[in-house]
């Protein structure tokens, strides 16, 4: 018995999903982690190595600094401090770097250069993998070992003022905090004043060990007006005066307590020439890191060219400075200049602690760690260190001791460097094995269905191939929406040409076309279009006086058929200007920004109401009476929900009283969505079991479709409701005037649906960037964060376009009773057309895995593709199920 091709394709897609999952598992490496649970506190610090005689120094060394103040200035680029801007606007800091007791570095941040991963890197010393960004869209508490946690358990009192992210990452760690949100980017004075207002009091009080300040103003200015704005200079001067205040107050305190304190000035990431950040350009990854303390020796160094270090090095340095154990996942190495002035024994001790921690991490993550050069260097250094301690304990104060000490020191430093490097590259290494297996599975699968592919237009084929090839270029991935808009437009033009030709020229060679051209009186073209029914009715008298009658009948259709591709084109053009997406166009003003600004609320309400009305008009035509009522109430509920959360206004209630979360309204809509879906499924099952007439099945499918439309209307933001309305409109136009009269093949219709689905994915404002996912869709109607429904809703909200077009395809094909196998062929085609880009993309990504933009451009796209494939698999399963329903009936 032969399996139907649709079922075959569905199973192939399912296998492919597994393949992609394996590939993704290999492609996104698990970050280097210590396997020991962080809760385990009993671990004793590594004792000082000693050859023979045991050392008496097993406890952690005492802290170097009594108080630490960290001033983190968001988006502080290195040239804002070390460049000409620094000299001009930050005179105090420049003076300290040049003359004072300080160490200045340029710390290199690893992409993604976004605040939260950077804070994690600074505090844990580890490199957050790309998956972390995806996993932590909700910024939950930081679970890995970090300096703040260590400080808390050591009983340090910490105070934090600034960006809320810290409070979320380290809940209950601070004895006092005040979080400011970075939500309103246009505000760059208030956010910083909210931090500074606490400063005087806190500095006077002095009942704390660690003070962290996170200033957001500079980043906001960068986002608004770029790094060359005059506002930047003013902000830098403000920061400079704040730093001066902190430093003088710290110096005053030091005179009382006689123990040195440390002031750290750093940036989390830089700023590109346009003022944004997130990628990996030099401007974005270079941040200053300045350590100021009276414990440091004053030495006139070359402050113009500070040493380049890694951002992760701060965690180890901070831990040593505060006398804490180094975080377990740290891959950074201690900043040596900080401990340079200490006695030799302490220096060696600190370096030893750092290398022991790094080598432990290496042991846990690399199976063949013993062959690692860093590990060998570490063993050698440890042995030398033991000898040195032995000599030292024997009170041997000779030159040999100093000479040996320097040698050990050098050995440790090079070991640290090698270890840190090999651990960092470990993160960037790929699990090639699982990548190969994944690719093989995906390919094997894509190769199979291609045998059954024959009759799709040249354009459809070329467009698909062209799109697949374009995925190799980073710009085309970033601007993929342009590809789809271009292809859809070209498709419309090609359809327009086809309608023109089949209308004007009759195309005798293609008898399946329904346009019959009659040439009446010689020289004058009288064209009549006849629907199949009309054609049958008028056949007997067609040759005689038929034309005049059928012309009157077909007259309107004639124009609508010719105009419909142009109407679709116009709709697409309007949608394109609704949401600007991609990288190059994202900053351009678009219609949705205009709508969402608060002074245009009335217009937005009007547009949303109109769109909902259009949606109702278009969807209700295929539903049963009960579903019609449910749909109307549901759409009304959608508007009420948007009004309740304050997005739109009621006409009879222009000033909304209070803004709620709209849970009641949203759940009201969910009830109707489930109800409609339930009736639809029931009708489908009924049509299968009791072999009811063909119509029941069509109505059932349409009801499922309308249930999905209702859900989409709820999840899409109000300014995107026109997208939904236009999508339904285009489906209606295409069905009525193009697909039915021109009698396209099932494969062609499938590819067209796929293209439109993809175009609508981007019309909605999505892009191949993780940042454009609308997470708020996952919280509609939920009190608190619940993972499963939130994920489902977010995914559905993101992939509304492809899902709705695919479900329309199912309904359309099964309503066309012409050929029984249409649906399974369509399923086949759909599976193929989705899997080919994924398979090719996986090969491309594998070959481009050392590309500069692999993390910023290609990886997010890979995740999108993987998700899309999963959805396709689900859709294909639905296709096959519907197909089976149809089969058992007939």
């Amino acid at each position: 018995m032969r399996l139907s091709s649709g079922a075959f394709a569905a199973s192939c897609i399912a296998i492919e999903v597994v393949g992609v999952a394996i590939f993704l598992r290999g492609f996104f490496p698990a970050p280097v982690r210590s396997s020991a649970p962080t809760e385990q506190r009993a671990e004793t610090p590594a004792p000082e190595p000693a050859a023979g005689a045991s050392s008496n120094w097993t406890k952690l060394p005492p802290p170097l600094f009594s108080k630490v103040v960290i001033v983190l200035i968001d988006a502080l680029r290195d040239d804002f401090v070390f460049g000409s801007k620094g000299v001009k606007y930050m005179p105090y800091i420049s003076y300290l770097i040049e003359k004072g007791s300080s160490h200045g570095f340029v710390a290199e941040a690893k992409p993604p250069t976004v605040t939260m991963p950077r804070i994690k890197a600074l505090m844990t010393g580890s490199l957050p993998g790309f998956v972390d960004v995806v996993r932590n869209l909700n910024s939950p508490a930081l679970l890995e070992d970090n300096v703040i946690r260590q400080a808390k358990s050591a009983g340090k009192r910490m105070i934090f003022y600034g960006d809320e992210t810290w409070v979320k990452l380290f809940p209950k760690h601070f004895i006092e905090y005040d979080g400011t949100t970075s939500f309103f980017v246009s505000d760059y004075t208030e956010v910083d004043n909210n931090v500074t207002r606490h400063l005087d009091e806190v500095l006077k009080r002095g009942d704390w060990d660690m003070l962290i300040l996170h200033y957001l103003g500079l980043d906001h200015i960068g986002h608004i007006s770029g790094p060359h704005s005059p506002l930047i200079g003013r902000k830098l001067s403000e920061m400079d005066s704040i730093l001066m205040k902190i430093h003088t107050s710290l110096l005053a305190k030091e005179r009382e307590t006689l123990s040195p304190s440390l002031l750290i000035v750093c940036g989390d990431h830089g700023m590109s020439e346009t003022g944004s950040h997130g990628a990996s350009s030099t401007e974005e990854v270079s941040t200053p890191l300045i350590l100021i303390s009276s414990a440091f020796e004053r030495k006139p160094g070359d402050s113009r060219h500070p040493k380049r270090v890694q951002q992760t090095d701060l965690a180890a340095t901070l831990a040593i400075g505060l006398g804490l154990p180094i975080p377990k996942d740290n891959v950074g190495s201690l900043l040596f200049p900080v401990i340079e002035e200490k006695p030799m024994r302490e220096q060696l001790r600190f370096l030893h602690l750092n290398t022991v921690q790094l080598s432990k991490l290496l042991q846990e993550n690399v199976p063949s760690y013993e062959k690692d050069p860093g590990f060998e260097q570490f063993k050698m250094a440890e042995r030398l260190h033991g000898n040195w301690v032995k000599l030292h304990l024997e009170e041997n104060h000779s030159d040999i001791l100093v000479g040996l000490g320097t040698k050990v020191l050098r050995q440790y430093l090079s070991a640290l460097k090698t270890l840190s490097l090999s651990l960092s590259t470990q993160v960037a290494q790929y699990d090639i094995y699982s990548m190969v297996v994944g690719t093989a599975v995906v390919l094997e699968n894509a190769a199979h269905p291609s045998s059954g592919w024959s009759e799709v237009d040249l354009l459809l084929l070329l467009g698909t191939v062209g799109h697949v090839l374009s995925l190799g270029a980073s710009s085309f991935v970033e601007e993929e929406h342009q590809t789809w808009y271009f292809l859809v437009n070209t498709l419309c033009l090609a359809l327009s040409q086809e309608t023109c030709r089949s209308y004007f020229l009759g195309d005798d060679c293609e008898p399946q076309h329904h346009f019959h051209v009659e040439q009446g009186c010689e020289g004058v073209l009288t064209h009549t279009l006849q629907d199949s029914t009309v054609c049958n009715n008028f056949k007997p008298n067609r040759a005689g006086k038929g034309p005049s009658l059928s012309e009157a009948h077909g007259g309107c259709k004639w124009w609508t058929v010719l105009a419909s591709p142009w109407l679709v084109l116009a709709c697409c053009r309007m949608l394109r200007s609704l949401n600007q997406t991609g990288v190059q166009g994202a900053h351009r003003p678009d219609f949705s920004h205009w709508l969402t600004s608060s002074e245009h609320k009335v217009q937005l309400s009007g547009l949303a109401a109109l769109s909902l009305l259009v949606i109702f008009m278009l969807v209700q035509r295929g539903c049963s009476l009960v579903s019609k009522a449910a749909l109307a109430l549901g759409l009304l509920g959608v508007f009420c929900y948007r009004a309740a959360i304050g997005n739109v206004l009621f006409p009879w209630q222009p000033d909304n009283k209070g803004i709620s979360k709209g849970i009641v309204e949203a759940r009201f809509v969910y009830v109707f969505v489930l109800g409609i879906l339930f009736t639809g499924t029931k009708a489908l099952l009924k049509s299968q079991v009791i072999a009811a007439d063909f119509k029941t099945k069509t109505v059932g499918l349409w009801e499922i479709y309308s249930g999905l439309v209702l859900l989409a209307a709820l999840l899409l933001r109000p300014h995107n409701l026109p997208v939904l309305a236009f999508s339904l409109l285009i489906q209606m136009i295409m069905t009525k005037f193009i697909w039915k009269p021109l009698r396209h093949d099932a494969a062609e219709i499938t590819v067209m649906h796929y293209w439109f689905g993809q175009a609508f994915f981007y019309f909605q404002g999505n892009s191949n960037n993780i940042a454009t996912i609308d997470i708020s869709a996952g919280f509609i109607g939920l009190d608190a964060y619940m993972e499963v429904p939130a994920t489902f809703l977010t995914v559905f909200g993101t992939y509304v376009g492809p899902v709705l077009w695919a479900s329309h395809l199912v309904h359309f094909l099964s309503s066309e009773a012409s050929s029984g196998s249409a649906l399974s062929r369509a399923c086949f085609c759909y599976a193929l057309i989705c899997s080919v880009p994924v398979a090719t993309y996986i090969i491309l990504v594998t070959s481009l895995r050392y590309h500069l933009f692999i993390w910023s451009v290609f990886s997010p796209k890979l995740l999108y593709e993987g998700m899309h494939l999963l959805i396709t698999a689900v859709l294909c399963a639905v296709f096959t199920a519907t197909d089976q329903t149809g089969r058992t009936k007939s």
């Binding site: 270029a473 980073s474 710009s475 085309f476 970033e478 601007e479 342009q482 590809t483 808009y485 271009f486 437009n489 070209t490 033009l493 023109c500 030709r501 004007f504 020229l505 195309d507 060679c509 073209l525 142009w566 084109l569 116009a570 697409c572 053009r573 394109r576 200007s577 991609g582 190059q584």
Partner: protein, 219 residues
């Protein structure tokens, strides 16, 4: 079909290519700072005028179709006027198509319109010269198996290749190479020009290669 016809076709096409060459070189003698990329609009205008002039000249000299015999003055004038109207209409239609394809609606209007003009020059002007303002003939030529002479066949090829060239010319726009020719509509106009030149070169060769298989109703 004779080889002399194909030879004549080839010469006329070479003349057209030559006119495009001239339009890039001659203006630099008269205008300062003329270059295709920097003063693109000027070049578009000049190139359009040159190509139109050469096409008209060829139409008057070669007269590939000697069909319309009625040569009253009023008939001629209406014919010319009709041609002008057709040309303008094709410009506006193409402009609308470009906007639908995503060209900005309110900015760069002149650029978009001149692109429409140059593409019309490559496509509509030869059609008007060869077929006259006769939509039925156009539809016949651009449908399957509708061509009746090598002239029409070459017209079909050059027109389609111009459109395809313009279509392909849009591809590099989203790339981030930041070259001066990626600015709208330069890559598209250059694509259309290359497509037109390619069509002019290819069509005689293609007709020559397939001269055995090609049978036209009238020949």
């Amino acid at each position: 079909m004779k080889d002399t016809d194909i030879k004549r076709l080839l010469y006329t096409h070479l003349l057209c290519i030559f006119s495009i060459f001239l339009s890039t070189f001659i203006p630099s003698f008269f205008l300062d700072n003329f270059s295709i990329l920097e003063t693109h609009l000027t070049w578009l205008g000049i190139c359009s005028v040159f190509v139109t002039a050469v096409n008209l000249m060829l139409y008057l000299v070669v007269k590939p179709n000697v069909s319309s015999k009625r040569s009253s003055l009023s008939h001629k004038v209406t014919r010319v006027l009709k041609c002008c109207i057709y040309f303008l209409m094709s410009c506006f239609l193409l402009h609308v198509v470009f906007v639908l394809y995503g060209a900005p609606l309110t900015e760069l209007v002149l650029e978009t319109f001149l692109f429409a003009v140059i593409l019309s020059t490559y496509t509509t002007v030869p059609c008007l010269c060869l077929l006259g303002p006769n939509l039925r003939a156009w539809l016949r030529v651009f449908s399957r198996n509708g061509v009746t002479s090598i002239w029409e066949n070459s017209l079909q090829i050059t027109t389609i290749s111009s459109f395809v060239g313009a279509w392909l010319g849009a591809f590099p726009i989203p790339l981030d190479w930041e070259r001066p020719w990626q600015v709208w509509p330069i890559s598209c106009t250059l694509g259309a020009t290359f497509g037109y030149v390619a069509g002019l070169v290819i069509s005689p060769l293609w007709i020559y290669r397939n001269r055995k298989q090609l049978t036209y109703k009238n020949n």
